[in-house]
């Protein structure tokens, strides 16, 4: 007959440590007590993302399926949320509880855009509510310099987001960038022009952006799929539409299925 074992009641602190260890083994990152998540402002996504948003102090990859897919728009949107420190989450179309994009919060972090090919167009970014005074553009001369700039800017606590087409990197170098982001607390958004380009970079999340046919609103749509994200299951794909007032809104899946590509001639006639 076995004596009754009194199971020790684990202390909350111990529980937290164990939980943290589990997350780490499952692929967590950084120190839990310093980990922040930035709401993307799209309720459907935020509800499904581990932590309720985009992990701060981390590297995220954005894969573009084709030219004009919307990866820059999505990167800029996430960067703007990071610079604001995260807007209160607001649901899709019609929700007006969120402050408008024009209402600028007190100076947030800087947004650094690496633009080697000289293609980034700041006036368009201003239209997305990016304060030009907090936007810094850097034009790296070569891949080595680009890597150095990304590393330096990620380490700076005043930089909320770095957006860059990443140079080819070894795994250790990619790891170093992740550590730099953890030190600085901002987000690094690496844009891959073609899906094949991204290797195993050790990024905290990987997003694939693909274009989607527009609906009657005549505004651009794109589909965002989280291919991988650490610390939880990836949310289902979200169809996103450009809204001239709210910026980006999530379109419900049902609505998305109903939109039939209209014949070109019909649209032009309208």
């Amino acid at each position: 007959m076995t004596p009754a074992v009194r199971r020790p009641i684990p202390s909350p602190a111990l529980l937290r440590t164990l939980e943290e260890n589990v997350r780490r083994i499952e692929g967590g990152f950084g120190r839990r007590d310093q980990r922040r998540h930035l709401p993307t402002g799209l309720a459907a996504l935020d509800a499904a993302l581990p932590g309720g948003g985009l992990a701060a102090g981390a590297i995220h990859e954005l894969l573009s399926e084709t030219d004009g897919a919307g990866s820059w728009t999505w990167a800029l949107w996430l960067a703007a949320r990071a610079a604001e420190g995260g807007l209160p989450a607001h649901a899709g179309r019609g929700a007006s509880s969120a402050p408008s994009r024009r209402e600028r919060s007190p100076p947030g972090g800087y947004l650094v855009w690496l633009d080697g090919p000289r293609e980034f167009y700041p006036p368009a970014a201003a239209a997305w509510g990016i304060d030009p005074a907090r936007l810094v553009i850097v034009r790296p001369a070569d891949a080595r310099e680009a890597y150095w700039i990304i590393d330096q800017t990620l380490r700076c606590p005043a930089v909320a987001a770095v957006i860059a087409a990443p140079p080819p990197m070894q795994r250790a170098e990619a790891r170093r960038l992740q550590l730099a982001a953890e030190a600085g607390g901002g987000v690094g958004l690496l844009l891959h022009a073609r899906p094949g380009q991204a290797g195993d970079s050790g990024a905290v999340s990987r997003w694939r952006i693909a274009p989607a046919p527009s609906a009657a609103t005549e505004t651009r749509r794109f589909r965002v799929t989280v291919e991988r994200c650490r610390g939880g299951a990836a949310p289902p794909p979200v169809l996103i539409e450009v809204d001239h007032v709210a910026g980006l809104v999530a379109v419900s899946a049902v609505l998305a299925d109903r939109t039939e590509p209209a014949a070109a001639a019909d649209v032009f006639a309208a």
Binding site: D67, Y121, P123, A126, I137, V138, A158, T219
Partner: protein, 482 residues
């Protein structure tokens, strides 16, 4: 009162008071002549070096009115007031404030403000009024009746003009222009053109003494960069100590290497915010040192603060403290990036009003004072943000090709977007096209061509920004809604 200078064996009057002038004394007459006219006059030796030093001091003082002040010995200062009038409430106020301030220093002043250095000089030296303001574009009218000497001409040229009986600038200008160089030399034409604004005239402004400077002299010329790096450390410590005593930080530092038989080598670093952190400055200065070649033998290494700013001590408030730490970190980051990449590759955008989308912004230096406080550039940007074309997202593409790319495209009717186009070897069928948005050329820059822009959506849902050139009908792809 007579100031006397000695040339050879004769004593001449170098300068005299207004009372003496009234009695017929002129600078240049002999002392004996002058004393015959004004027997009771006091005399004193003329101190040319003292005058020059005083003029220099006055030039530095005058920098409160204009950023660039040049000396025009023996008795004039040239102020480049381009863009300054705004700060003083107009040209006239600037002129009066400056002249009043000089008078308060117990100087007699004649002042003129004009488009050109030449016109301002002529009116201040030979005009009827002690203060003259020449409205923009009125240089000729203001100068016409003045005598030719006010054009800053050499005595030889003046003698020849005098011989021809030319008493006024307008009569001089009636001479055929082509004959002037042959008759009077190139200088006359240059002076005329400078006065009327046809030729540019550069000032060489005085430079204020550095607010902090530290140097190390070497007994033997140093050719080894490592030695210079070692020497930099104590010089920097001394330099930073000077800044600390003043409660200031450097905004621009010049690192100079003086060489035995050659001109000094200099490189300067600009800082986004006043800084005196040894670790930060040392990193930036060492990077500059790496680009300087000490092979010729360096005898002295010097650091000079060309520009400084106050460092405001961090407030006790925890939140504020956090923020100032972040601001400092940002400034140091941008300093490092600028030091490595150069200021033309690290910048912030400023919005500009333009009909050409590619010209609707320009790069602004992060280290410009504008970025430190919310300045004119930011207000201009803010004003432009109310323009719907700039304030509504997605009307302009985030990715704008540096140069529009000609594309093969087909539109059914000229005023419609293309049904089909080919870009980078791929055919795109369009399913939607929004436009046209006509952006006309800026005729004053020579770009007259109007463009009809369309936002087109291709079959798969990607959006492009294309335009048709009005006259040629050629289609271009200009941007991608990436």
């Amino acid at each position: 009162m007579l100031l006397i200078e000695r040339t050879g064996n004769t004593q001449r009057v170098a300068a005299c008071s207004a009372e003496a002038v009234a009695r017929g004394v002129r600078p240049g007459v002999t002392l004996a002549h002058a004393q015959a006219l004004v027997p009771e006059a006091d005399t004193a030796p003329f101190d040319a070096a003292g005058d020059a030093a005083a003029l220099h001091a006055l030039a530095l003082w005058a920098m409160r009115f204009a950023p660039a002040v040049a000396l025009d010995p023996p008795d004039a200062l040239l102020l480049d007031v381009t863009g300054c009038a705004r700060l003083f409430g107009g040209d006239l106020r600037l002129l009066n404030q400056a002249a009043d301030a000089v008078e308060r220093l117990a100087f007699t002043v004649r002042a003129a403000l004009a488009d050109t250095v030449g016109a301002a000089w002529a009116l201040s030296h030979g005009g009827d009024e002690p203060r003259a303001l020449v409205p923009p574009g009125q240089c000729y009218a203001a100068l016409a009746h003045l005598p030719p000497w006010t054009l800053r001409l050499s005595p030889e040229i003046l003698d020849r003009l005098d011989a021809l009986g030319l008493q006024r600038i307008e009569s001089l200008l009636m001479l055929p222009r082509a004959t002037l160089p042959a008759r009077f030399g190139d200088k006359l034409l240059l002076r005329i053109d400078q006065a009327l604004g046809r030729a540019t005239e550069l000032l060489s402004p005085v430079r204020p003494p550095p607010q902090a400077a530290a140097r190390m002299n070497f007994e033997h010329a140093v050719t080894d960069r490592r030695t210079l790096e070692y020497a930099l450390a104590p010089v920097l410590v001394d330099f930073v100590a000077q800044l600390t005593r003043q409660g200031r930080g450097a905004r621009r530092i010049e690192l100079s290497l003086f060489r035995e038989r050659n001109v000094p080598l200099s490189r300067s670093i600009c800082l986004c915010a006043p800084n005196r952190a040894i670790g930060h400055l040392s990193g930036l200065l060492r990077a500059q040192l790496e680009r300087m070649d000490p092979a010729d033998g360096v005898v002295c290494l010097e650091l000079a603060a060309i520009e400084t700013g106050l460092i405001v001590a961090a407030q006790g408030d925890f939140f504020e403290d956090d923020r100032s730490v972040a601001a400092e970190a940002a400034a140091e980051l941008f300093d490092r990036l600028t030091a490595r990449c150069g200021s033309d590759r690290v910048f912030r955008p400023g919005l500009v009003e333009s009909h050409r989308p590619e010209k609707a912004w320009r790069a602004e230096a992060i280290s410009s004072p504008r970025s430190a406080r919310s300045g004119a550039g930011d207000r201009a940007s803010a004003a432009l943000l109310s323009d719907p074309r700039i304030s509504v997202p997605d009307l302009r593409p985030l990715r704008l090709l540096p140069r529009p790319v000609p594309i093969q495209a087909m539109a059914v009717v000229p005023d419609q977007p293309p049904m089909w186009f080919r870009y980078r070897g791929r055919e795109h069928r369009t399913r939607r096209g929004i436009g046209p948005e006509r952006l006309s050329g800026e005729w004053w820059t020579g770009e007259k061509e109007s463009r009809d822009y369309y936002r087109v959506e291709t079959e798969n849902g990607a959006w492009f920004w294309v335009f048709r050139e009005e006259t040629s009908g050629q289609w271009y792809l200009h941007g991608i809604h990436e």
